[in-house]
């Protein structure tokens, strides 16, 4: 997915001189831009706070800065700069957080960030986007460029399978139904984002074999959240399961619960179950896949957990 971002931003930057890439000491394969477009690529030091402030100053004069770094350092380290220099002053900077969720499992809890959705979506004026694959990433890029507000772009998977299709448009703030169960009967509504959407699609295939119909609602935009999509599909669901590679505190699941509780009377509310990461630091190493297994987030595990919930 990162390569899709990289290739697309390079092409866009050739056409749009407002685009400036700021890398905080990350080798992202774009250093050739320094000679090709010297005013549009800055390799800066390991100084995220300065990078955000600098981007804010550039954005104040009409530029569209994209700051590239590990999601952990780009959100935790410089949170006050994000809040005050970007969001409070409505400067349209784009934070491109690489390796979020469990993607940097091998580096342990200093790099693994499981609370980035929670902390970024809590900021007024912030937009939070987590594409599920390279195709969607590419389609979203022109929209992200045009978007007038600060954006946190959460990248959590590298070059893995494509789950969306080439055709069809995307729109920031609009959820996508990637799999539709039979409309004649109530089914399971799986709500997912980012890297977990692939797992959701695969889990649905398992569940279908077991006779459980599912709908997969994918949110490439976590904020602003497509409330109408949740409300509409929740009415037709027997069970709602949210899926995220993020702590269950404050992420997509929490955001969905907020919408459901605010808009649907509790007696009409189906059971909602949030699947994500526990409220603890992750000390296990390994790979994104092995840690997904550890926390019951592999497709077969998700399917089994849903089957158990359906039997209750």
């Amino acid at each position: 997915m990162f390569y899709a971002f990289r290739d697309t931003i390079y092409e866009l930057a050739k056409m749009d001189k407002r685009i400036i890439l700021i890398s905080a000491d990350q080798d992202v394969g774009l250093s050739h831009m320094q000679s090709e477009m010297p005013n549009q690529f800055f390799m800066e030091g390991i100084s995220e706070a300065n990078a955000i402030g600098m981007a804010s100053g550039l954005a104040a004069d009409g530029f569209r800065p994209f700051i590239l770094n590990h999601a952990s350092f780009l959100t935790r380290r410089c949170y006050e700069q994000i809040v005050l220099d970007a969001c409070l002053q409505e400067r349209p900077i784009r934070l491109v957080g690489m390796g979020s969720g469990l993607a940097t499992a091998h580096l342990g809890p200093t790099h693994t960030i499981i609370e980035d959705i929670a902390i970024t979506r809590a900021i007024p004026g912030m937009t939070v986007i987590a594409p599920c694959d390279a195709v969607e990433m590419k389609k979203l890029m022109p929209h992200i460029l045009k978007w007038p507000k600060p954006v946190y772009l959460r990248l959590a998977r590298y070059g893995k399978p494509i789950v969306t299709r080439d055709e069809g448009e995307v729109e920031i703030g609009k959820a996508v139904v990637l799999y539709k169960g039979e409309s004649s009967k109530k089914n399971v509504l799986l709500i997912s984002t980012g890297a977990m959407t692939l797992s959701a699609i695969k889990a649905v295939e398992e569940l279908k074999e077991a006779g459980i119909e599912c709908t997969v609602l994918h949110f490439h935009t976590i904020k602003p959240l497509d409330k109408n999509a949740i409300i509409e599909l929740a009415q037709k669901a027997k069970l709602i399961v949210t899926l995220e590679d993020h702590t269950i505190i404050g992420g997509l699941g929490s955001a969905c619960l907020e919408v459901l509780m605010d808009n649907i009377h509790s007696k009409n509310l189906p059971q909602v179950y949030r699947m994500g990461l526990p409220d603890k630091f992750i000390h296990q190493y390994g790979t994104q896949e092995s840690l997904m297994e550890e926390f019951g987030l592999q497709p077969l595990q998700i399917a089994n957990r849903i089957m158990k919930l359906m039997k209750k």
Partner: protein
């Protein structure tokens, strides 16, 4: 202190009179620095605050904003009467400045932000082939923030000669003296080693400030730094060099009268 400096302090006082509190010491030390920049150095259009060719001024030590509001009002960015609404309900003029206010380039108040924003604005000026210069006023206490030094390295790396950082060096911060809380010395040498060309001046001497700022940039390939030695609370003898006047609340009528009489013609 000349009549203009007393006048600007009277404008500051008009803000304090309403709310009876504020970062008064911080505002009083920076008056002459801002006055000289706006009177003699910077180019700007009060009726067109976002004129692209303007010079940018960032008060990174946002707490001193009463001084900036006073100068902006004097120059016509704001109505002088509006100063009386400082930090009151429904006012645009908060206890820290917000970029929603005409003439305020960056929202500041949390310390350590302004120099990085200034670096970005200076880069923008260069890329867009503008002649805009960028001035960032830092507090000496503010230099405790690590982000200032990140920004300093970055400014030097990019050879931002059209960026000037200015320290309102009043030697005091909220909790006491800068020397005791976190010693910054040798300050001049620190900035030189971070890649700036540095000059030191009396931050209340209008003629010296003017002559120094007129010589900017000090180097053609380095950012400039002007360390302005100032007095916290300058203008009110009872508040001068007293860190307890960094922030003051519950100012009574007698104190207001005392402040007013301090500003009468010498």
């Amino acid at each position: 202190m000349d009549e203009r400096s007393r006048y600007l302090r009277r404008l500051i006082l008009s803000g304090i009179e309403g709310t009876r509190k504020g970062h008064i010491g911080s505002a009083l030390s920076v008056v002459e620095i801002i006055r000289v920049l706006y009177d003699d150095i910077m180019k700007y259009r009060p009726q067109e605050p976002l004129w692209p060719e303007r010079d940018r001024f960032i008060l990174s030590k946002g707490h001193g904003c009463l001084a900036l509001y006073a100068v902006l009002a004097d120059k016509g960015f704001l109505d002088v009467e509006e100063l009386k609404t400082y930090a009151l309900e429904n006012s645009r003029l908060g206890g820290c400045p917000e970029s929603l206010v005409p003439g305020i380039e960056a929202t500041t108040g949390a310390l350590g932000h302004g120099l990085s924003i200034g670096v970005g604005m200076a880069l923008a000026s260069r890329i867009q082939n503008r002649r805009s210069r960028v001035y960032v006023v830092l507090g000496d206490g503010e230099l405790d923030e690590g982000s200032i030094w990140e920004a300093a390295l970055c400014a030097a790396k990019h050879k931002l000669s059209h960026l000037t950082a200015i320290i309102d060096c009043n030697k005091l911060q909220l909790g006491g003296s800068t020397k005791e809380i976190l010693n910054l010395e040798p300050l001049r040498e620190k900035w030189i080693s971070f890649g700036f060309t540095v000059e030191e001046v009396d931050g209340h001497n209008v003629d010296t400030l003017k002559a120094t700022f007129k010589r900017l940039p000090f180097s053609s390939d380095k950012p400039s730094m002007v360390i302005c030695h100032t007095i916290k609370g300058k203008g009110f003898s009872f508040a001068e060099n007293d860190y307890k006047w960094h922030w003051k609340s519950g100012i009574d009528d007698a104190t207001i009268l005392k402040m007013k009489s301090s500003l009468e013609k010498e």
